[in-house]
């Protein structure tokens, strides 16, 4: 098919998606008929509540008192000195309740679920952070919670599986396909189709059918809104560059979106290059994939020549996904954001460097962003600034890291 490429810079303020969920040729609603009605219902509810003062007040209250927002922006001065280039600042989403940015979105969607009178919550999870964040808000609101998780991920993220169970959620291991995040998403969609009347599906990233990419982005944009103000207070201006890791892309969009119209701020999305883009063993659809349709939206995908989705690889379960949010596809094509790859080995190096220089243990996902920021900073002047979204903390990854380094805990 032909993809219509519009000119890169939009005239006037950025206002995508259109009313049918399209970011240029990407996004949209590609689902079976049974899901059209619940998606219409969700769209209507979201449109209504996103501007509803009571909803906004409750969301703000929860973000402040339950999540612990605003999260600080921290000047990683020692790391910056070591690198000897631009000043590196960290947006500390790792300090949120549950330890990652995921909770910003689940708090919002759970409030929506309650207003829509849906007593049953389902979610998919890869690394388990979104599953934990969903189980957390479900426990708080007294909603039934079922989390679908690929059997492979259940195995490698046993700590988060146990956390979810402690929080009262049912964790369902998914045995179909590659038994990872994409298959968990398939299974969650199947559950939703079967229980559309009483179930709210909390998607954890900026993918899926409209309105999810826009809705999750809006809930995550609190990251960028805060950061903009915090950087102005700290440094008197906006940063020269933003850096965030991209799996589905929710923490990246959350940081980027409020800056899209600030053309002087460069934006870098960091994909998981796994063993290296050239090996084919990676999770970098924007760097090495092509446009296609999966999980309700058109976006860049990792697929074979027949259009079958191929297995991805990353040391970080949270980046191990063959697609990416459609807005990132659009930002890539339009040239507004740049997407780069960081390998497993480079991410590990970034992990250790940040841990040793700043006493901050980052999640493996976020370590990809840290590693790229270190490379980028080295090419910039000391009076320039990079803001990195430190999307999660690394406690959940300690076992993975120890195993990789041959240490038995």
């Amino acid at each position: 098919m032909t993809l219509i490429k519009d000119s890169g810079r939009v005239s006037g303020p950025y206002n995508l998606p259109d009313e049918r969920g399209h970011f240029g040729p990407y996004g949209g609603i590609f689902v079976a008929e049974t899901l059209m009605e619940p998606l219409t219902e969700l769209r209507a509810a979201y449109e209504r509540y996103r501007t509803d003062p009571d909803f906004i007040a409750e969301l703000d209250h929860d973000l402040k008192h339950y999540v612990g927002r605003p999260s600080p922006v921290y000047h990683a001065a020692r790391l910056s000195r070591e690198v000897g280039g631009a000043q590196i600042y960290l947006k500390r989403e790792d300090l949120n309740h549950t330890g990652a940015h995921k909770v910003n979105n689940t708090v919002g969607q759970a409030l929506l679920a309650r207003r829509m009178n849906k007593p049953r919550i389902i979610a998919e999870t890869g690394a388990g952070q979104h599953g934990v964040a969903t189980a957390t808000v479900a426990a708080r609101l007294g909603l039934k919670c079922i989390v679908y998780m690929g059997a492979v991920d259940v195995e490698r993220q046993s700590l988060n599986v146990y956390r979810m169970k402690l929080l009262g959620a049912e964790v369902v291991p998914v045995e179909s396909g590659s038994r990872t995040l994409k298959d968990a998403l398939n299974e969650a969609l199947r559950d939703w189709v079967t229980h559309v009347d009483d179930t709210f599906y909390i998607i954890g990233t900026v993918a899926g059918p409209h309105p999810y990419p826009a809705m999750v982005r809006d809930f995550q944009s609190v990251i960028g809104r805060e950061a903009k103000q915090q950087m102005r207070e700290l440094t008197g201006r906006l940063p020269d560059a933003l850096v965030a890791c991209v799996g589905g892309g929710s923490n990246a969009i959350g940081l980027f979106h409020p800056f899209i119209d600030d053309g002087e701020v460069a934006m870098y999305g960091v994909e998981a290059a796994g063993d290296g883009i050239e090996t084919g063993r990676h999770s970098a659809p924007l760097s090495a994939g092509r446009p296609g349709v999966l999980h309700g939206n058109r976006t860049y995908l990792m697929e074979d020549e027949d259009g079958e989705i191929i297995e991805t690889h990353s040391i970080s379960a949270g980046l191990d996904y063959p697609g990416v949010g459609p807005e990132h596809a659009w930002l890539k094509d339009s040239g507004r954001a740049t997407y780069v790859g960081i390998t497993d080995a480079q991410a590990m190096e970034g992990f250790h460097t940040l841990t040793l220089t700043e006493g901050i243990i980052p999640a493996l996902e976020s370590s990809h962003a840290v590693a790229y920021a270190i490379q980028l900073a080295a090419t910039m002047r000391p009076d320039q600034q990079i803001l990195v979204n430190l999307s999660g903390r690394g406690d959940k990854d300690i076992n993975t890291i120890a195993t990789r380094e041959g240490i038995r805990l």
């Binding site: 079976a32 008929e33 059209m36 349709v293 027949d306 259009g307």
Partner: protein
Amino acid sequence: MSRIQNTFAALRESGRKALIPFLTAGDPTAEFTVPCMHAMVAAGADIIELGIPFSDPMADGPVIQRASERALAHKMSLRKTLALVEAFRRTDTVTPVVLMGYLNPIESLGYRTFVERAREVGVDGALTVDLPPEESGELLPLMLEAGLDPIFLLAPNSGPERVQEMSDLGRGYLYYVSLKGVTGASNLDLDDVERRIRAIKEISSLPVGVGFGVKNAEMAGTIARFADAVVVGSALVSQIEAFQDSPDQAQAQIVDILRAMREAMDASAARDA
């Protein structure tokens, strides 16, 4: 008139309803598919829905998911599926074949290449599960131009406006998904299905088929009383799964199920006549 229209016209004339079996192309092997399609026709099938295997069949239950996995294990693809239809057409130029699958393999092949090749090999229609009318603006005109019937799904929660829209855009027949769920689910309420089919037929003059969850001859017979077609998938595919090491046996089981369904459907049609 298209082959699908012809089929329904002939059935109406003889007071019978269409039996539409589904199988996944290349499940369990590429060699199994075409002989099985012929055997299905001999057992009383009027139209065949041939599934294009996909790695992520989101609307399908476990039985058809595993069929896709078996087919993909030996690299079945949309291209090869089209080649199977071509082989089928060498000896059967009458029975309509409808491809059923997900959009990505079609998008990957290219819309134009897909419709041209489908027409060449003798495909009659295509049902793309994850392509609702809202997103079909590019593919639909190409299909219509090539004489390929776009078949749309209707669900229990599709409102009257959507039924009207599908009826206007669709050709061949409408496929009513008999339950909120995935293929092969078991909670089918036939009274409710009947009410829904009657409501759809108030709006649309297209034939209406019922699928998702049709398990046995008795259900097929009941559905044939009020619908124009009965679609059966998981009940047949589960036989392929059970007898994947002995394809003859799998085919024999499928033939038995279809014969029994045919008989039950014809009997209920005769009773009503």
